[in-house]
């Protein structure tokens, strides 16, 4: 692999031992992946603060001890808990203490304590075509597909290495030629009205991931007026049902303004038709749960945008969460502040909604709440929650979630594609 003088001095330890470690891991990666050279990236999204044992924390603290500093702007992904309201969420104080260590290590390295999996809604966002290093599957998929920036699917730990060096191997989704769609997915038999219910974007994302696996797909047939919040959920869900780091939506995403663009003028290797029937099958797989009762509703996976919070408030229409229920909504700190200033925070609180930041619904301490049935409006949450909590969640649209919370019993509206 070709290394610049700067790369070599990084490897040589001229910029400190932490940067040397980062560079060594990244050049190893480059060698194994057959990269020809290293390139510069301009920002990092850091998903190494997600606690799943002490190893990652020890690694981060080791880098701090070595004097490591991020040399590009770096945002932090969600952690397990709301760092202010963790007691209300019933988290273990010991876990909180570990989280303060995690926060200290990452901000000492230079990360911003943004604590969100939707940094693109909190001011941390690159431009089209910009080379970046983002981790976290929904964030990576979003920034590649919807914004058209260029990042490999970085894993937690590698993001730290990229931050310490500002360099990554030029391979994978960094290279335009590797961003070509291989599989064409055509929607057939859908009516315009089917897209009025935002839930369809989760379903379509789920099907997309199932079909493409770890290939790159392009979906044709989504309406041109699809909104960003729907696409965000498509992105998150497709990255959970498949190994998707980039998708194209013909006419909607910047690298797929035409079918030809998405496929770089070549023919699709594979064409798959998705009908309403196929969608129903996937929905069955995504949400095959019929709990006796629902006592927890959660929205905000990935973290809610301001617009989604407005939809939430509208759906409540002044009604309140049933006394037998918890309703947890997750958003970023920046949006929480906006909502505090314009009255939405208080209005949602009055509806009985608990608004949390920093954390993730999936890592909620379910066992300390005796939740037996959970509903969410997230295909990603549906996919992962069982293995996290032992509870199979029910998928519902945002409106279903609110109706269920208000009624105190499961409410699932028939969808127009059913």
């Amino acid at each position: 692999m070709y290394l610049t003088d700067y790369d070599k001095s990084l490897l040589n330890g001229d910029f400190g031992e932490a940067a040397r470690i980062g560079m060594s891991i990244l050049t190893d990666l480059g060698e194994t992946m057959g990269a020809e050279k290293m390139i510069s990236i301009s920002m990092v999204h850091d998903d190494s603060a997600w606690y799943s044992g002490l190893a990652a924390l020890e690694f981060a603290e080791h880098l701090v001890d070595l004097g490591g500093k991020f040399c590009v702007p770096t945002s932090l992904n969600s952690c397990l808990m709301d760092l202010e309201k963790w007691q209300e969420q019933r988290f273990d104080p010991e876990l909180y203490i570990i989280h303060k260590r995690i926060e200290k290590a990452h901000t000492s390295l230079g990360a911003s304590a943004s604590w969100t999996c939707a940094p693109y809604f909190a001011g941390f966002v690159p431009r089209f075509g910009e080379q970046v290093a983002w981790a976290e599957s929904n964030a990576t998929n979003y920034v590649n597909s919807i914004i058209g920036a260029r990042t490999e699917r970085y894993a937690g730990l590698l993001d730290l290495c990229a931050g310490l060096t500002g360099r990554v191997p030029y391979q994978g989704l960094h290279c335009p030629e590797n961003r070509r769609a291989e599989v064409l997915i055509k929607l057939e038999g859908f009516k315009e009205d089917d897209f009025l219910d935002d839930a369809i974007y989760d379903m379509l994302g789920y099907v997309h991931g199932e079909i493409v696996g770890d290939r790159i797909g392009a979906m044709e047939g989504l309406p041109l007026h699809s909104k960003i919040d729907g696409l965000k959920r498509f992105s998150a869900t497709s990255a959970s049902s498949g190994g998707v780091g980039l998708f194209h939506l013909i006419g909607l995403t910047p690298e797929a303004q035409t079918l030809e663009m998405a496929f770089h003028g070549k023919k699709p290797k594979d064409v798959v038709i998705v009908t309403p029937e196929r969608l129903r099958e996937s929905e069955e797989r995504m949400s095959n749960s019929s709990p006796k009762e629902i006592n927890m509703v959660t929205v905000g996976c990935p973290h809610l945008s301001h617009a989604e919070c407005e939809s939430l408030l509208t759906a409540f229409a002044g009604r309140t969460v049933h006394s037998s229920m918890e309703f947890w909504a997750f958003t970023n700190r920046c949006n929480k502040q906006h909502m505090e200033k314009n009255g939405m925070y208080e209005a949602l609180r009055r509806c009985g909604v608990k608004i949390y930041t920093d954390g993730c619904p999936m890592s909620s301490p379910f066992d300390r709440w005796n939740f037996t049935g959970i509903m969410s409006n997230s295909g990603k949450f549906s996919t992962y929650c069982f293995s996290y909590s032992g509870i199979k969640p029910v998928y519902g649209s945002l409106e279903d979630c609110v109706e269920t919370a208000v009624a105190g019993t499961m409410q699932r509206s028939a969808k127009s594609w059913h």
Partner: protein, 141 residues
């Protein structure tokens, strides 16, 4: 029984021998694998409930969350890591664990890729030796 040998592409170097844990399904580490025990807890996995600790872990490719490296590093810390990864296709997410643990814990976890035919043979394997440098997997049982 004569020794069966499968060609493979060495990705992360090293040579290990051990029991094979074979999964036909793509694997998600975050949520799908318990970082304290190495037990697969993804209900969609065909190896649900099995531990990957000290095994040659064979699966087609990764899916879902990008936290695979965090889980693999933690498994290395607590001594429950698989001995090697064998995939149809590897990727940056999967390689993170082995590459960081080599630098940070000085532990080797070879990673190799095989083709579909190789996968089929491995689906029947009990034990194997993975030699990333030589580009060979030898079935020993």
């Amino acid at each position: 029984m004569a020794l069966t040998t499968i060609e493979c592409k060495g990705v992360v170097k090293g040579k290990v021998a051990g029991k094979v844990l074979f999964s036909r399904k793509p694997l998600s580490f975050i949520g799908g694998v318990d970082p304290e025990t190495g037990i697969i807890q993804d209900p969609l996995s065909d190896q649900y409930g099995q531990s990957m600790a000290d095994k040659i872990l064979v699966f087609p490719f990764g899916k879902g969350s990008s936290g695979a490296g965090l889980v693999l590093l933690e498994l290395a810390r607590v001594g429950k890591a698989p001995k090697a990864l064998v995939n149809l296709r590897t990727n940056t997410v999967l390689l993170t664990g082995p590459l960081v643990m080599r630098e940070f814990y000085k532990k080797e976890m070879p990673v190799v890729c095989v083709n579909e035919a190789g996968m089929e043979i491995l689906s029947q394997a009990g034990e194997a030796t993975v030699d990333s440098t030589a580009g060979e997997i030898t079935l020993t049982a």
